[in-house]
Structure formats: C-alpha cells, structure tokens
Symmetry: C2
Subunit: 401 residues, 2 copies
Amino acid sequence: MLIVKKFGGSSVANKERIFNVANRIADEYKKGNQVVVVLSAMGDTTDELLEKAYEINPDAPKREMDMLLACGEQTSVALMAMALSSMGIPAISLNAFQVAMHTSSKYSNARFKRIDTERINNELEARKVVIVTGFQGINKYDDLTTLGRGGSDTTAVALAAALRADACEIYTDVEGVYTADPRVVPKAHKIKEISYDEMLELATLGAKVLHNRSVELAKKYGVDLIVRSSLNNAEGTTVKEVASVESMLVSGVAVDKDAARIAIIGLKNEPGIAFKVFDLLAKHNINVDVILQSIGRDDTKDISFTVDQTQAKEAVALLKENKERLTIQKIEEDETVAKLSIVGAGMQSNAGVAAKMFEALYGVGVNIRMIATSEIRITVLIDIENVEVAMKAVHAAFLED
Amino acid sequence: MLIVKKFGGSSVANKERIFNVANRIADEYKKGNQVVVVLSAMGDTTDELLEKAYEINPDAPKREMDMLLACGEQTSVALMAMALSSMGIPAISLNAFQVAMHTSSKYSNARFKRIDTERINNELEARKVVIVTGFQGINKYDDLTTLGRGGSDTTAVALAAALRADACEIYTDVEGVYTADPRVVPKAHKIKEISYDEMLELATLGAKVLHNRSVELAKKYGVDLIVRSSLNNAEGTTVKEVASVESMLVSGVAVDKDAARIAIIGLKNEPGIAFKVFDLLAKHNINVDVILQSIGRDDTKDISFTVDQTQAKEAVALLKENKERLTIQKIEEDETVAKLSIVGAGMQSNAGVAAKMFEALYGVGVNIRMIATSEIRITVLIDIENVEVAMKAVHAAFLED
C-alpha cells in the first residue's frame, strides 16, 4: 500500500510532537507500506516569518513572500527526516523543487498544475519514507509559490492523486468530522463516511476540519480522504464520492457566526435594480450569501443579504456612496446574526426535510429571519443568541435516536 | 560594471542592518551598475538551526542538515529583496536551485563545479538587483548541499568568476586586511594590496578576514577581491594576483594561538620511523604543521611538531597506542605555545629576512622554539606569554618607518 499522510503545524510544533508523528510514520512503514508524508511549517513559524517580513516591508512583493514562507516547511521536513533517521527508519525530505511540484504562477495563491512522480517513486522503491514540504510549489519561472490557506491539505491530495496512492490521511487535532460542534452539542457524534459534496457544504459553513480546495481536488481526482486525529488511533472520517448507502438523511449541522446581515430598504420597484446592487458588490470582490427580496410598500422593495463580517463595513460604505443611483432609502446592518445549516446528500430525494427543520426551531421558539437552500443544504439565518438552543434542537431532530 | 557584493550574517542580523546593507546596494545600483548580492544567514540563525537539529538527532544525516541549514540564507535573501523593494529598487532573490549553483555531492562540505549564469544575466538585464543565497548549492541528485566554513565568500567568488564580474567585494566588520591585529599592535595599518598567495598564508595563520577556499578560488579564476567594511566607505584591501610593485618586503604579521606542540622522544634512529609517525596521524586526519627532528643521545632521535589544539588529545592518544611499534620512549604535549609568522611576496628575492626577524625577537628576549619556512612565509613557535611583545617587535622591524 502507498499511503500519503499529512500533518499540520501544531503536530510538529516541538521535539515531543515531532517524535509522536515520527512514531506513527514508523509504525506504518514497519507494516511494509510505502509512506509519503506532507508537513506544514512548525507551530507558529509561518506567523513569525510573516512578522519579520512585515517589519521590513508591509507591502512586500508576493514572490519574495513565498520565497520566505517556503522556508517554514523545509525546516519541518528536514527535522522530521532527522527524527526518523534517529529511529533507524530511512527517510528523505524533498522540497517543491526536488519533487517537482508544478503550480500556476500566482504567488501566495497558486494552484497545482502537475506533480512529477519520478523522484518520489525512486525514493519509495529504495524503501525510504518520503517527506514532502506542504503548501508550496514552483511555477514556470522556477520561482517558489505558495498555495494559500489549507495549502498543505491540498498538497497531500495532489500527491495522492499523482502517485495513485491507496489512501490519503489528513491528521488534525480532532478525531474526524462531527455531526455538529461537540463543544456546543454534547450529543454530536463522529461521521464515519461523508461525500465530497456534503463535506464541501460543511466546510463552507464553518466546520473547519478540511479546507474546501483540498476537498474539491479530492473530488476531481477521486481521492478518498481520511480525516483523523494525530493524537490517538481512533478511526476518523472518510470523505469519498458516495458515502455508504446507509447514509443519513442529514449528515451534519453547521453554524457560521461570522455573518452580517445587510438590509437595503425602499428601492424603486423597477427592473435591473437588484442586478446593479449585486454587480457593484461583486466588482469589489464582496461575497454575498443568503439573499432575500421582498416587496415593500408604495411600489418599493427591500433586499436583505448576508456577507462575511470582515466585508460588512466595506459593503455598507459602497452602498452609501451609490445610494442615489441605486434608489436606496435606508441601509441597515446587523452583526448579531448566525447562519445555521443542515447538510445531507439524502435531502435530494426526501421531501419534508425543511419542514422538519423549521418545526424543530419553532419548538424551541427560534425565529427564522432568512432561508436559503441548495440541493444538499438548508440554511437559516437566526439571531446569534439562539445559536446553541437551535443547534441542539436541529441536531436532536435529525441526528439523535 | 557588474559588481558582486557579499555580506556576512552579522551585516544582516536585524532590520536596521538589513536596511544599512540595502542602502549600500541601492547606491551602487543607482550609479547604473549591475549588482549581484550574496548573503549569509542572518546573525545566529545557522546556530539556532543547528541547535534544533541537535535536539532532534545529534547524529543527523548530513543531507538533511544541509536541507535544514539552506533555509537560513533563503530567509536572508527574501528579506533583503523586500527591503530593496520598499526603497523602490527592483530586486529578486534566488536560491541554489534557481541560479543553479552546481556542486559536488559531499554534504556539508561541497565544492562548486559549475554555476549557470542564464537566470542571473536575464534578471540583471531586466535591471534588477539579484540577491543570491550564499553557502549553498545543489548536487547531481538535485539535493541541497552546503559549502562548509567560509562558504558565502566562496559563493561570491564563484559567482564573480562565472559572471566575469568587474569586481567582487567582500564586506566584513573590519576595514580590510591589516599588517597585524590592531588590537595587539596599535601601529598596525591596513594593507592596500596583497597577493593571493600572501593572503592564503595570512589566512592560514589566523588573520580570519577571508577563508582560504575563497582566496584559492579567486586565485584559480583571477578574480580580484576587495575586502572592506560594511559599516563605512573606507577603501579596503584588494587581493589580486600580483600586488603593486611597491609591495613591502613583508606584508603582515600573523599569530595563531590555537597550536599545540607535541614532542615524541627517544625514537630509534632508523629509516622509516618518521614516516610511520606521520602516516599514522595523516590516516586519522590530524593535520601536522611545523615539524622539527633532532638527533638525541644514544642513537635515538626526537621529533616535535605542532597540531591544532582541538586535535592534540587525539594525536597523543594515537601515539600512546602505538608507542611500542613507533619506538617512542616519552611523549610530551604543550599548549602554551603560539605560532608567529611574517608573510611577504618580497621575501622570495630578499636574503636576510629571517635573520632580521630573529634579531627583532632576540632584541626583546623572546626564545624561538621551532622554525618553519615557505617561499613567502617564516613561522616561529614561541611561548604564548611572549606573543604581544614579539608581534610588536617584529611589526616594528618590518612594517613601521
């Protein structure tokens, strides 16, 4: 078996943790498996490097930033190879040049284009553990690039696809993907299997176990992902094309507290107004989520939508600047809201899921302010103070016996 | 003009120093010159990385050690490019892969074999300052190598040779090469020009301004080196094939306090004994320096020689183990000695230099314990307590009006 294992920065933050990971790798190797390991930078290394750069040049060229940040993973992989070597396990570290991991040219946010497998395969055939720098690649100019958030997960998936690995294991500080955040919903339980699409919806909605890009890449190349804990041997969650037939109607409940609701009131009820509003926001890269349009009084209409809190101020300012042109009478902003979602592949063929969710919320007196749905997801906007009671009620309705 | 400038780790140890160096580079660039900069790792970075490695594996594979250490210079060059960029100077950092700097395969002590110039020349033609990682290279397996002590100086010289640079400037924390250590000999003065061979002798003898390998490489490719201060604009010392005709009889006085004298007494006076002694030491990589052989009493002979203090214990142990075979009656070791040398290309054609040196030492009552000479050097072994008075006397005899 060829197995790709990815460990994040906190898993290699110090000597003790490095050896903890090295032991897991050694166990796999001793079973006779071929092992490729992808590592992130140790602990806070990336933040420290960013700070150094900021001190020198707050607006540093992204090419040079990537050159700098790439050192973080290179340090991790070299130290891990040393740790394995001290345990008598033959290991070799490889960086983006050595593999080579070809990406697009966009510094700080590159995408994989092609990964050479010759060097890795040669080292595996020589019975070495191969330890690869996550998060980085090289572009057509032979310059280092980095992949942006969740980059090391993406590296692991891309390597697993290129090497046709038998498994791709993503080690985290949780035991897998849960039906809800166990800190809020004590009865939440680990999901054994989940489809790529469900995982993508959950990730988008705040279950921060896997980054979307790695799941998208896994889906594209049909790589089965296993999310598991770096601290124990619990089984974890498998993310794959089609989860088992016994899959639940609803896989999980997710919450996003980082939403802000913006309402623009009293717009003229004429064609093209809504288009102008969202075109303006899109041109400024403001991502709009749940949208609700309602007819107001006197032939006017109101539009409300959610944006990420970090973009709310900018969105409001933009709308104010264009108040006349967009015929806006009043703008309201509210950050005391949260998005609560249920995700499940089973929804597609089952009527009544939405009704059951609304009933659960009604049962605990939670008011629904907006609703949005996709094929495998239902999202409601509620007051942030109701999040816990709402999560528990919805989880109980769908995911508890 | 194409100018290669090398700055050491202390010159880029913090933000203030990085900008100090960046300003010097900017000045050169604004004159219209093409500038290639070679940097070492910042301040104590290399020591910190070594410490991390030692913590994980005190006997780490050298390949992985080089992979780790290479991060030090990569961090420096990226930050320098950011600093220059913040000043409006276009700059690009390049590591060993990107250049590419091809070396032999010996990890931690590699030698340059070939340096590609295409990428650097392209960047220079685009009017960029090119900032290259010192100390590192890649071998035929595409693995990172490091060059050992003085590696960044060697990188600068190798680049200057490959690029046919008009000048190669090595910036240090002193203003150049001095006729003697100014802390000991207040009348010591900076040397304007010195030949490669003289510099090599001085370097070997403890004037730690330039590492021998960089001087040897400069000699091989006829690269003129300029040693100067990174803190001021003083002119510095030029190291070249033939120093100016006005060159002094003696260029400088150097002292090496790290020597130990070992005496083996009462050896049988038969052929091959000396060979066996030094063959034994050579096989254990112990470098023997000044050697003196004298006929003792009763048809026996004594041999004394100097080794570096760090190797003295091992040398004595080896000799003890082989006492019988080498017919040694007694072994003495003395670390209270120092080597005092005068170096000068002028010596070759001038008789009486040695006599003048011995006279100067006699004049201040310093006893000479051993003598060794080369074409351009005379070395005497003296008691360490006499070093200061001896240096001053010899310096006064040759290098003061």
